[in-house]
């Protein structure tokens, strides 16, 4: 009879091991499903279940403990036509728990066969995630302290579309496996078995007891109606097909002569919510419109809406090496906590430096020229101060000028935001012109 079993490598399990029955039932199931070796990959975990891939004339992937589902996911996404079957013990189930949960949630068309024999066979019969607390195991009394996991109930509540339990001794085992393989989505089959090498040396377990225990378990009957949905891979490709390819970032050609053709360092000291980083990017773009090179280095707290936010922008006619700013040419001081982060830098300023200071922000005494911008009476809200300060800088014709700034805004923004930012620059221009 035709078989996918590798005649040169017969199963090598201990006599009476239920893995042996599962191997043969899997072979039967694959044939009954009409599959050829090259249409299948067996992804095997670690432990005695990790030997499965070697017994079959199919594609094979044997990897690390508990991680079989991760390779299965990558393989299935790369080869959507491939039938991906994972064999994993109750050990792999425990160590790879996060992967089991996300496979259930994801519903990628992969079949997981859990070869559940209630202990770690290969390493000496230690307790696993499914060992009853009454069992005698290789981990002393420790299993008495933990409850066994019912993987089926966990899988069902995690969203697995197909969940079933069965015995290795079930007459229809190959049919059970075939049904799980045929299911279009993530299927999990929890196959209870006997490990004579370790477990039944000290615990009584027979096909009969398994049968009785299974009958007492809460019912799970695949497919789970409330978990039915589109298969992940197909769904992924459908959503992806609606997306448009992203073009390479647009190049900016020099259009203006900058007010100063020298290396200039600008520090913007503000707070989260003041759009400091965006202002830094606009300043960089402003430089590109004058053919300058530029870097922008940021510092912010990992809390997005609180704490200081600082950006350091260099504009230079030459290639920029060091991206730090030892002595800034301009500081835009927009919040007290931003200034506090860089107190020491004010000492470095000489009388060629410029500080543009927002209302109610005080800076340490220094040699720089201080310009206080009256954003409050101009009714500019704090979130716009960074852009407004750039407009002031441009109006003063320091580092940038207004045409450079307008070009950058036109490049960066569209529609409403563009309109309001241009309007803001205009408003600042008018106010800065008016006599104080």
């Amino acid at each position: 009879m035709y078989s996918l079993l590798n005649a040169d490598r017969p199963p090598v399990f201990c006599p009476g091991c239920s893995h042996d029955r599962i191997t043969r039932a899997l072979d039967r199931a694959l044939l009954d499903a009409g599959l050829k070796g090259e249409q299948i990959v067996i992804v095997s975990d670690i432990g005695c279940s990790g030997l499965f891939d070697t017994f079959f004339n199919t594609h094979a992937f044997h990897g690390l403990h508990g991680r079989a589902l991760t390779y299965a996911t990558g393989l299935k996404m790369a080869q959507p036509e491939l039938n991906v079957i994972v064999t994993m013990g109750d050990g792999g189930l425990g160590i790879g728990g996060a992967h089991v949960l996300s496979a259930c949630r994801r519903n990628l068309d992969v079949t997981l066969l859990v070869l559940n024999n209630f202990n770690f066979g290969m390493t000496g019969g230690q307790f696993s995630a499914t060992t009853p607390w009454t069992s005698r195991v290789g981990s002393g009394f420790l299993n008495q302290l933990e409850r066994p996991l019912d993987v089926c109930r966990v899988a069902a509540s995690a969203g697995a579309a197909y969940v079933r339990r069965c015995s290795s001794y079930a007459k229809n085992l190959s049919k059970e496996i075939e049904n799980a393989i045929r299911f279009q989505g993530f299927s999990i089959l929890d196959i209870w078995g006997i490990c004579p090498g370790r477990y039944t040396k000290r615990n009584r377990l027979t096909p009969q007891i398994i049968e009785e225990s299974l009958a007492q378990m809460p019912a799970v009957d695949a497919p789970i109606p409330e978990n039915q949905r589109e298969e992940y891979g197909r769904h992924y490709r459908k959503l992806a097909a609606e997306l448009r390819p992203v073009p390479l970032p647009k190049k900016i050609e020099a259009q203006f002569e900058p007010p100063e053709r020298q290396r200039r360092g600008v520090m913007i000291l503000g707070s989260a919510g003041q759009r400091i980083i965006t202002a830094g990017e606009i300043l960089c773009l402003t430089g590109l419109f004058a053919g300058l090179q530029t870097t922008q280095k940021n510092e912010y707290n990992i809390t997005v809406l609180r704490g200081p936010s600082i950006t350091e922008v260099i504009l230079s006619p030459d290639k920029i090496g060091y991206t730090g700013i030892h002595r800034p040419d301009v500081i835009l001081a927009l919040s007290q906590e931003g200034v506090a982060r860089r107190t020491a830098v004010f000492e470095t300023l000489d009388n060629t430096a410029l500080v543009i200071q927002a209302p109610e922000v005080t800076v340490p005494s220094c040699k720089a020229k201080i310009h206080t911008a009256d954003f409050k009476s101009q009714k500019i809200k704090s979130a716009d101060w960074a852009l407004a300060a750039l407009a002031v800088l441009a109006k003063m014709n320091r580092v940038i000028h207004t045409r450079m700034l307008t070009a950058a805004l036109n490049f960066k923004f569209k529609n409403k935001i563009l309109e309001s930012s241009l309007e803001l620059v205009e408003r600042v221009n008018r106010a800065e012109q008016a006599p104080k």
Partner: protein
């Protein structure tokens, strides 16, 4: 000529796509996240796959599966994630699975400082596998390098069937700068070597003269085996110690014997200089300023910027250091790569400048180290 603005992380993503990378999986982590964000924008619309793993172990596991399925794959993380990748890095080395791994280094140890830079993983990347086998590590200095070295990284991963690391740094990764896309080096794209037709396919057979076994994907018409266990040419477990020894030796040699072909660097020699500044990564940028300043001041120093860190490009280092008495090594840690330089140049004075407090090494500090005799 015109410039666009790009972060190092974005440049890596664009480089990956240009290399033919069509699979990315990652787990969000500062400061590597914008690689994931960019790949998510770039890949799905062109038929590629970008996944967010449930953790770092899963993310690299997906990549290994997809790579064996025939795709060019990449993942990106930072120190804490590299720690979790370790077991899978060993797998990729031992089972010859091509993958590009970006480590956007941040200040460690442990969770350390998420938003501060360092080059603290340089020895970890080399030795973070459970057999101590060599790996390839490339180190960009700016966004342009991020683009070009990523293409090199894919070429090397495909040719040698191995993990290739890009040792980036927060200070390159999320620093925005001008890039002239037309002026960037675009290496020719190399594909995984497929077996010649005719002979039966033996998954790990390595005919002499090629670096790594021929590749066929899992899921193709020919049956392929992959295993993390110590294997013979047929991809089944072997206990033959001669075969095991040959296998280990080949994995070691395939990279070390070829490093001359991929020793990337910038070199600025100065006539009569008795000091060579040797550095890599973000610190290279301060060193370029120093090189220019020292030249103007009439006391020039030579400068060697390494872009291939592992395997150590020993021949290159010896050759470039030959005319000088003294080498100043500057790196953003408390002394990692300097050990290699001391090993390779036992007869030179090697002075060290390190910094690991979240701030960049400044040109001034390098000058002070040079001038302090």
């Amino acid at each position: 000529m015109g410039f666009c603005l790009m972060e190092g992380n974005e440049a890596i993503a664009w480089g990956a796509v240009a290399s033919g990378c069509r699979f990315f999986a990652g787990y969000p982590i500062t400061p590597a996240t914008t690689i994931f964000n960019t790949m998510l924008k770039l890949l799905p619309p062109v038929g590629g796959v970008c996944l967010q793993g449930e953790d770092e172990i899963a993310s690299i596991g997906y990549c290994l599966g997809a790579s064996m399925g025939g795709m060019k794959v990449m993942t990106a993380t930072s120190g804490p994630g590299i720690s979790l990748y370790s077991e899978h890095i060993s797998f990729a080395i031992g089972s010859e699975i091509p993958i590009v791994i970006v480590d956007v280094q941040r200040l460690g140890p442990s969770t350390g400082s998420a938003t501060r830079g360092a080059d603290g993983d340089i020895q970890f990347l080399r030795w973070g596998n459970s057999a101590g086998l060599p790996v390839i590590v490339l180190a960009p200095a700016d966004a342009g390098d991020c683009y070009s070295l990523t293409i090199h990284a894919f070429n090397l991963a495909e040719e040698f069937r191995c993990p290739v690391f890009i040792a980036s740094n927060k200070e390159i990764a999320v620093t925005r700068e001008n890039v002239d896309l037309d002026a960037l080096e675009r290496p020719k794209i190399i594909e995984r070597p497929m077996p010649p037709e005719g002979n039966p396919f033996i998954p790990f057979e390595t005919p002499s003269g090629i670096s790594a076994p021929y590749f066929l994907p899992i899921g193709g018409d020919v049956i392929v085996r992959q295993t993390s266990s110590t294997h013979g040419a047929d991809g089944y477990i072997t206990t033959d110690s001669d075969e095991i020894a040959r296998f280990q030796e080949r994995l070691g040699n395939k990279l070390i014997s070829a490093v001359k072909r991929f020793s990337f660097y910038e070199f600025y020699p100065e006539e009569g200089a008795d000091t060579l500044v040797l550095t890599y990564g973000i610190t290279a940028r301060a060193a370029r300023d120093v090189h220019r300043e020292k030249k103007l001041s009439g006391k020039p120093v030579s400068l060697l910027i390494l872009k291939t860190l592992w395997p150590v490009p020993e021949t290159l280092i010896r050759e470039k250091a030959e005319p000088v008495k003294r080498v100043v090594v500057a790196e953003m840690n408390i002394g990692q790569y300097v050990r290699e330089i001391q090993r390779v140049l036992p007869n030179k004075t090697v002075d060290f400048l390190g910094r690991m407090d979240g701030r960049l090494i400044s040109p001034q500090q390098i000058i002070e180290t040079i001038d302090h005799v």
